[in-house]
Symmetry: C2
Subunit: 257 residues, 2 copies
């Protein structure tokens, strides 16, 4: 099985190292990951500038390809110019910090998987719910299992699996739940301060306001010790609004101007 791995924490992240180790047990792994951390870049792609691809070594051994771009760039160039063919699956992660609820929108990890889905390659995004994570064993086991399941059953065109694992020792994780994207959002605050040159600046911070209370939402499941698996797609159309909008009768209004 040909497995392409990327992430948004950068090629030196512990998370991608652990994921690659696990995936090498079951397939032929290629790593194409951002040279530097690209958290919260969403689905950005690089068009105004060229990309550079460098071979990246760990302990003197070839580890993978480092790209000076975004996670979505890594998937595009990884498939088009490094592999030169579609892999059987793309896995993005293991992200340090959960990608649940509204965070999915901002996540580079999820966007890498989504870019693969756009390119018709089945994809999984995997995160562990702690920015200083040390427990990766459950996430690695579950990733391997999901790779087999996706190979067996496939995923509907354009759907990815967004996996979030609580940051707990293996035996303390209660199991898995199939979940939907939660509704929890950030209460943003910009800390205003003055830089060393006397100029104002604003630095984004804030707190996730956890409003999800159902076990079938990603955020609540992870908080309660379950590994969350959400099917996520990129058809953004809100079909429920069609009828309302038709009633606005815009064309007759425009003619009456």
């Amino acid at each position: 099985m040909k497995i392409l791995i990327s992430n948004d924490d950068g090629i030196e992240s512990r998370g991608i190292f652990e994921l690659a180790k696990a995936m090498r047990e079951i397939g032929d792994v290629t790593i194409v990951a951002p040279e530097t951390e690209q958290s919260a870049v969403g689905h950005a792609i690089t068009m105004k500038y060229p990309l550079r691809v460098k071979k990246h070594f760990k302990n003197g051994e070839f580890f993978g390809y480092a790209v000076d771009g975004t996670p979505a760039d890594c998937i595009k160039i990884g498939i088009r110019n490094i592999l030169n063919e579609a892999p059987d699956i793309v896995i993005s992660g293991i992200n340090l910090g959960s990608n649940t609820a509204i965070n999915i929108i901002y996540s580079g990890t999820v966007s890498a998987a989504r870019e693969a889905a756009i390119m018709n390659v089945p994809a999984i995004a995997v995160s562990v719910a702690n920015h200083e994570a040390v427990h990766f064993d459950y996430a690695c086991m579950l990733s391997k299992m999901l790779v087999f399941k996706v190979a067996e059953y496939g995923l509907t065109n354009g759907t990815i699996l967004n996996v979030n694992v609580p940051h707990l020792p293996y035996d303390e994780i209660k199991g898995t739940v199939i979940t939907k994207q939660g509704k929890s959002k950030w209460a943003d605050i910009y800390e205003k301060n003055i830089d060393p040159y006397g100029k104002d600046y604003y630095w984004l911070t804030g707190k996730l306001i956890e409003t999800d209370t159902e076990m079938d939402t990603d955020q609540f499941a992870v908080k309660n010790g379950y590994a969350s698996i959400s099917p996520i797609h990129f058809d953004l159309t809100d079909y429920s609004e069609f009828e309302n909008l038709q009633k606005w009768d815009l064309d007759n209004l425009i003619k009456s101007i």
Copy 2:
């Protein structure tokens, strides 16, 4: 009516100038836009660095606030720290170049509107289907009409309107269509070349492969001379996959390891 305007082409774009002029006829306008072009940044937000906000002047008159960040940053800081309150509506655009089909995923213009929706502010993204656009009058007329309609009827929580207008003189536009996101995708190519220092680089280019053939898709409607209005939301859950995933019976598999 308090109207907040942003874009992804940057505060000096002709598109935001035309939109602001139109919106000033119907409301109290504040402009918070990226200092430089931010096309294809998707829903990136700036967390690793602070943001700066500068007053921006055109012909010696105050025009709006320029932020050295992304379109989503502009909406966040615009609402939290510049307006200090939620506006009645956010309009993002007028983008030069259409934001239809898969381009919605990469679009900073759409992401600015989506960030507003996340903050519970109704929002519209407006694009004209030409990178060198000179015809803005239909897009401006339609934007004003939609602002009134949204004020009258509201939008379901989290839904935005993604508006794409053909680049044609006013009288040649055939009318409006309520559309869904098309399925057309890019055939990406990375042009490989060598920089002045002898190093390889890869530059993203490609062609949109137009596979949409139905008038109720954004891409096809615009191509055929209609202004397209798509309801877009940020619930990315693919509910159609739930049943399939439940059948994978992961918990029993994990117990059996």
